[in-house]
């Protein structure tokens, strides 16, 4: 253990020192090869021009290298693997995709993922917006926001333990130690093994992600609400609009852009949801989702890379429209810079 801590410290020193040494050294070497001081006239200008051409690539080089090895190459390779068999060696055409759409577990994962996509972003945005509006009106709003924001710092696994404890089930008549079943029993109902109820268990898992992500939606939307010009709201008040009319007709339309951003961010997160399903049910009782299914195939029976890659590509296809929209949006913004 001491060796492990020592090696971590050494890596930090070597890593940071190495980075500094690289950037400083590369810069020095460039100055030596194309000196701009001590040479005269044309030569100095020429050298300065060459330096300006090369230096950006020295700055950006390490980042490019890491991005290519850890993201760009893997993305291409995953697409390639999805057309190959489990070992990744023999070309099999589209048969992995044909398998996927014929597979019962895969189809159930797609349906569950769609359910997640319909419910979670909507619920997070809705609750986030309501809480943002309400907390802006009270003196202890900042404390309230901070507490609702807190689950965002908790890991999905930690949150799963927290909620598994809430859903804990004992036979009817026994003392319930799970909050949910205790409430149900106190109201005269029958305690349930919540996460095993087909179809409905999806919602009990979604609650966990909603609990985590509402704080995110709240913070972003709260900032957007503060950006609304006061005059528009004052005018509505003078015209006799009710609080509900002000909310729906004046405030919400002015922050549509932000709502869209929150919605798409949570949508991407939902497509990748993995930890919650793995720890709560591991896909049992018809609660499987794509990301967990992909992880499963990565290691099932020694690992079927073809099928795993196929499922990854299908998740990627769902993200693609958002990616294209983002790039176009960013190009428009940075166009002038």
């Amino acid at each position: 253990m001491a060796a492990q801590i020592l090696s971590a410290i050494i890596v930090i020193i070597v890593g940071v020192g190495g980075c500094v040494a690289y950037f400083w050294g590369a810069n020095k070497v460039l100055d030596l090869i194309f000196p701009s001081r001590g040479v005269k006239g044309e030569k100095a200008i020429d050298n300065l021009r060459k330096q300006a051409m090369i230096r950006p690539w020295l700055f950006i080089g390490p980042a490019m290298l890491v991005l290519v090895v850890y993201l760009i190459y893997p993305v291409i390779q995953t697409v390639y693997l999805s057309f190959h068999d489990r070992s990744g060696e023999n070309f099999v055409g589209l048969s992995n995709y044909a398998w996927a759409f014929g597979d019962r577990e895969f189809r159930s994962s797609i349906l569950n993922n769609l359910l997640w996509l319909l419910v979670v972003p909507a619920a997070c945005t809705f609750f986030g917006l309501i809480i943002a509006v309400l907390t802006d009106r009270i003196w202890w709003g900042a404390i309230a926001k901070s507490l609702i924001f807190l689950p965002l710092a908790i890991s999905f696994v930690g949150a799963s333990v927290i909620w598994k404890f809430i859903y804990e089930y004992r036979d009817a008549g026994q003392t319930q130690i799970g909050v949910l079943n205790a409430i149900v029993q106190a109201l005269g109902g029958n305690p349930q093994f919540w996460i095993s109820l087909p179809f409905w268990n999806n919602f009990f898992l979604m609650v966990i992600l909603i609990w985590i992500q509402t704080g995110f939606a709240m913070v972003i939307l709260s900032a957007a609400l503060r950006g609304i010009p006061e005059e528009t709201i004052e005018a509505a008040v003078i015209d006799g609009a009710s609080p509900f009319q002000i909310f729906w007709k004046i405030m919400v339309p002015q922050i549509w852009g932000t709502i869209a951003v929150v919605w798409t961010t949570i949508t991407i997160l939902v497509l990748k949801v993995f930890d919650i399903v793995l720890t709560m049910t591991n896909g049992q009782w018809n609660s499987q989702v794509l990301a967990n299914l992909m992880f499963d195939w990565m290691f099932r029976g020694g690992g079927d890379f073809g099928r795993g890659a196929t499922i990854a590509v299908i998740i990627m296809l769902a993200v693609l429209p958002i990616m294209i929209w983002n790039i176009r949006q960013a190009n428009r913004e940075t166009g002038g810079h």
Binding site: L71, P74, A144, L152, G158, V161, T175, V179, A223, A312
Partner: protein, 384 residues
């Protein structure tokens, strides 16, 4: 905001109540495991954590002293003693002699058993069993009794999980993964972000577009090829394929698009005159970056560091793929996941372990919330 905050008193109270409701729903789950982790493990299974402060009731079984302990008194045979080994801690509320009716008689009352035998059990656990005839047999009378235990809080669970369940070791492993995986990408990203914000070179717009595209690429797309790559490298050099170095670099790669994006948009917003006047004075790009841009960018570097720290600390997927499951490499999230499988019903272990895993993010979060929120706003309002 300029809205009239509820025109009526009722409306204002309604707002307070609504917010109170949301705060309760969002904090009670976490409170549940915090309280449970501090409770005695017998009490956790005996009553809900919300009754932790009122004491818990449960039914227990015991035997009275055997016939050899009897004494003759006023023509009666009497066995007296106490149900509790250490009287005074708990209280009997009711007792009985049949398992079907364990609380037939109230504490302090005298129960008439068959053949004229009487039994009295008091709240403090002391009992008197009396009979007109001598008791026989070497096993004492069986009794059932309901006890209430006063709330008992303990740090025993923490000692157990930290030192004998392996959570302590996993804590060190998590730190080993997280600290370098947070520091390394900052350096790499800062230089790249400066180049993309303030240097002119062909292909810059394309690189920015690619990085924005990579922001949303699901991690799942990278796992299988990297697993193959690591296995290949490991086999080629004859070294293990699951190493800390491997996961540091993987987290660096996965965090880099967001880091570059966040830092670049911040640096691009710095005043142009600053760079130009420095350049007039003969400063090179390297000097401008180190002496001007980097110090000015500290707030955004802090934002990214918090993000990356939380993301790496809370990650399960990357750790499961790129690290082994032995005690020397299992991080907290992985350990917690393993405990959910092996110690499924042992809530004293699970709640305590869960609290240990979330305590570091909570501290980071509460002490640096300002930077966290700033990064969140900068990172998502523009890109997503």
């Amino acid at each position: 905001m300029g809205t009239p905050s509820g025109r009526s008193t009722a409306g204002r109270i309604g707002v307070h109540l609504a917010v109170l409701f949301f705060v309760a729903v969002w904090t009670i789950p976490t409170l549940g495991i915090l309280v449970s982790s501090l409770r005695d493990k017998d009490q956790i299974i005996a009553s809900g954590w919300w009754s932790a402060f009122t004491g818990s009731a449960q039914t227990e079984a015991g035997r009275l002293a055997p016939a050899s302990a009897q004494q003759e008194k006023d023509g009666k045979f009497v066995i007296a003693g106490n149900l509790f080994e250490t009287p005074g801690e708990r209280e009997v509320t009711a007792f009985g002699t049949r398992v079907q009716a364990p609380s037939d008689y109230e504490a302090g009352s005298v129960a008439e058993l068959k053949d004229g035998v009487t039994l009295q059990v008091n709240a403090d656990g002391s009992y008197v069993l009396a009979s007109p005839k001598a008791f026989e047999g070497d096993r004492g009378q069986r009794v059932y009794y309901a006890v209430t235990a006063p709330p008992r809080f303990t740090t025993e669970n923490y000692e157990t999980v930290l030192f004998s369940e392996g959570i302590g070791r996993s804590f060190i492993n998590s730190l080993t993964v997280t600290v370098p995986a947070t520091i390394i990408p900052i350096m790499v990203a800062a230089f790249a972000a400066y180049a993309l914000a303030w240097m002119r070179f062909p292909g810059r717009a394309l690189i920015i577009a690619v990085i924005i595209g990579l922001l949303v690429v699901p991690l799942q797309m990278a796992l299988i090829p990297l697993l193959q790559l690591y296995n290949g490298v490991g086999a080629f050099f004859g070294v293990p394929s699951k190493t800390y170095l491997g996961i540091w670099l993987a987290h660096t790669g996965f965090g880099l698009p967001f880091a570059i994006y966040l830092l670049r948009s911040y640096m691009a917003g710095l005043p142009r005159e600053l760079m130009e006047s420095a350049r007039m004075d003969g400063a090179s790009d390297f000097e401008i970056f180190i002496k001007i841009v980097l110090p000015l960018s500290l707030p955004v570097l802090a934002s990214f560091a918090i993000f990356q720290f939380l993301w790496v600390w809370n990650d399960l997927l990357v750790a499961m793929v790129f690290l082994g499951s032995g005690a020397d490499q299992l991080v907290l999230t992985g350990k917690l996941n393993a405990l959910l499988g092996s110690r499924g019903g042992d809530w004293e272990i699970l709640t305590t372990s869960a609290f240990v895993t979330i305590i570091v993010p909570l501290i980071v979060f509460f002490s640096l919330q300002r930077y966290f929120v700033r990064g969140l706003l900068a990172g998502s309002v523009k890109g997503g």
